[in-house]
């Protein structure tokens, strides 16, 4: 048998082949197809236009309104209704507004992805699902329509870059900083058309929320997928959520890697990516003092429970000063509910932040925190391209939730190590 990486093994098993090699074109069976309220209507329109009125398997399709929820306009409501109507007609899984959240995080929570599975979704951050050891990649609406119709997708097998994470993360340094450090090192196309496989001693201390952040931002380096090989922590997470049989897969000893990148996590500092590229990360200490108008805590990158806990630990008992505003958007309804039960939402509200319902919210510049001309925002999101959150004249800085909370407390970019608090969360 040829020694293969986890990505190659999942692709081979879904293509009905004993092995695959990088560069090979394959047709792979999909275990799940996801679309949301921005990309889904276009996918359904494609099926309709070509007279395809039946999905291959309704149980493997999931439709999640998450970008514009609750609908701010009649047009947005119409888009969601299109998904809802299709779901009803075919018995497809649909998460009603108020019972869902950002699709990528929701699919993990709901056990709609398991180790060894292959998932495609009409959103670039579908790669987040690699956190449980699945192959997951983003597609456009037309590709997604084809996967919905046939249950298959054509893929070119990617070569794998192994990212070795070494050492213990210092206080206030998170998975977000690992990815900003990686991006600063390899650039926005440093993993173009490649798989990023995360390995190393640091993983043992990263929970599933943090692993999701690693895989989530793989696409920011151009990667086809990000993947964390399943370990006992993965299995404990998945077994509590998945009833169907699944087969965890790991890389074979001696598998071929195109390259290896080592990140010395114990040496990392909290980083901030300057406008207008996620690859422009610098230590927060070098940018401290820069005035911001808005802090946004949320998104598929950093709107998870772990992220809210970190921010709340710094904000507890404190007030956000008058010249800065903070918007907190939990990624899913279930995270919202947990944060409510733990008292985190009360901390945010008492501090003077706005807490919105679960959605993608301000990240893609759609609603609940869109930026005006000249505004500066510190966001826990994944992209700070020009115009991403609204006005092309706005400036977006990316950072982890601890930096976000520290910055909200001062109104200027602030190193969380300069703020007392957060005991018990970081050692």
């Amino acid at each position: 048998m040829v020694a293969q990486t986890i990505t190659e093994k999942i692709l081979a098993s879904h293509a009905g082949l004993s092995s695959v090699r990088p560069g090979q074109f394959i047709t792979a069976r999909v275990d799940r197809v996801m679309a949301h309220d921005i990309t889904g209507p276009l996918a359904l329109a494609q099926l309709e236009a070509h007279g395809i009125d039946r999905p291959f398997d309704p149980e493997r399709i999931v439709l999640v309104p998450d970008h514009l929820v609750p609908s701010p306009t009649a047009q947005a409501a119409q888009a969601i209704h299109r998904l809802r109507a299709f779901a009803r007609r075919h018995g497809v899984t649909f998460f009603e507004v108020g019972r869902g959240g950002i699709a990528h995080i929701l699919l993990l929570e709901e056990g709609l992805v398991a180790p060894g599975e292959l998932v495609v979704g009409a959103d670039s951050h579908t790669c987040t699902l690699g956190a449980v050891g699945a192959f997951a990649t983003g597609l456009g609406s037309t590709d997604t329509a084809a996967a919905m119709a046939t249950g298959e997708v054509w893929l070119r097998v990617p070569a794998t870059i192994r990212v070795r994470l070494e050492g213990s993360l210092p206080r206030f340094v998170m998975a977000k900083d690992i990815m900003l450090a990686l991006l600063a090192q390899i650039g926005l196309d440093g993993a173009a058309y490649r798989a990023l496989e995360f390995v190393g001693s640091t993983l043992a201390e990263l929970d599933l929320d943090e692993r999701a952040t690693l895989c989530n931002m793989a696409v920011e380096a151009g990667a086809k997928n990000g993947i964390v090989p399943p370990d006992p922590r993965t299995l404990a997470y998945v077994e509590a959520r998945v009833a169907r049989p699944f087969t965890p897969v790991v890389s074979d000893p001696g598998a071929d890697y195109l390259d290896e990148v080592v990140i010395r996590c114990s040496h990392l500092e909290p980083l901030v990516a300057e406008p207008h590229s996620p690859a422009r990360g610098r230590p927060v200490s070098e940018l401290a003092g820069l005035r911001v108008d808005q802090v946004f805590l949320g998104s598929c990158t950093n709107g998870k429970l772990t992220d809210l806990r970190v921010a709340a630990a710094l904000l507890r008992g404190r007030r956000i000063p008058p010249h800065v505003r903070m918007v907190v958007t939990p990624a899913t309804q279930s995270i919202y509910r947990e944060a409510l039960a733990e008292g985190l939402l009360e901390v945010f509200v008492q501090a003077g932040a706005v807490v919105t319902g679960a959605s993608c919210g301000a990240c893609p510049g759609l609603h609940t925190g869109v930026l005006g001309p000249g505004e500066v925002c510190l966001a826990t999101t994944n992209r700070n391209f020009r115009g991403r959150m609204g006005s092309p004249e706005a400036r977006i800085y990316l950072a982890n939730p601890a930096v976000a909370a520290a910055t909200a407390l001062t109104g200027v970019l602030t190193d969380p190590r300069a703020v007392v608090g957060g005991e018990g969360l970081f050692v």
């Binding site: 276009l42 395809i52 514009l68 670039s124 329509a145 084809a146 054509w154 893609p364 020009r386």
Partner: protein, 166 residues
């Protein structure tokens, strides 16, 4: 196999989907004209005013990186852009381009040599790009991609498959 000729619009590296087609229009802009109107809005406002059918976009590395929004490709199609020649492409954009009949040609030497505003010819039969600096060969499409293009797009390509399963 046709030959395409158009003027070059030249841009840099990492032209991302947020500047190609801002997210705020992804659900409001519906028809072809409305989608066309916002192309490259946050990168080059001159583009939609002056673009001519057949024009070619020339760019550096990682063209179309970022989001999966298909309008990043269709907004160029609806403006009559005949091809994008770049040093490399973001993978989702590349698939979206092929699926919507937009030629996306990775060809680093041509992408570097072509000057803004000059006339560029793409010879699809001989897989050559011609510009003032000379002729540059580019690799032909793989069989899978050629099949999609020849069928007239991905959904038409897979329709036969769906029907045969019924």
């Amino acid at each position: 196999m046709p030959t395409l000729t158009g003027r070059a619009w030249k841009y840099g590296h990492n032209v991302n989907t947020d500047v190609l087609f801002p997210g705020k229009y992804t659900y409001t802009a519906r028809g072809r004209e409305e989608i066309a109107r916002h192309a490259l809005e946050d990168l080059d406002p001159r583009f939609v005013q002056e673009v001519q059918p057949g024009d070619v976009i020339v760019a550096g590395r990682n063209f179309g990186c970022g989001s999966s929004r298909e309008q990043a490709a269709t907004c160029l199609v609806y403006n009559g852009v005949s091809a994008v020649i770049a040093e490399s492409f973001g993978r989702i954009f590349y698939r979206n381009a092929i699926n919507n009949g937009l030629l996306a040609i990775p060809c680093p030497p041509a992408a570097q040599a072509i000057q803004p505003g000059e006339t560029v010819t793409v010879d699809l039969e001989h897989h050559l790009i011609r510009c003032a600096a000379g002729e540059f060969p580019f690799p032909p499409l793989s069989d899978t991609l050629r099949g999609i293009v020849e069928a007239g797009g991905l959904v038409a390509y897979i329709r036969g498959k769906v029907r045969s399963n019924e």
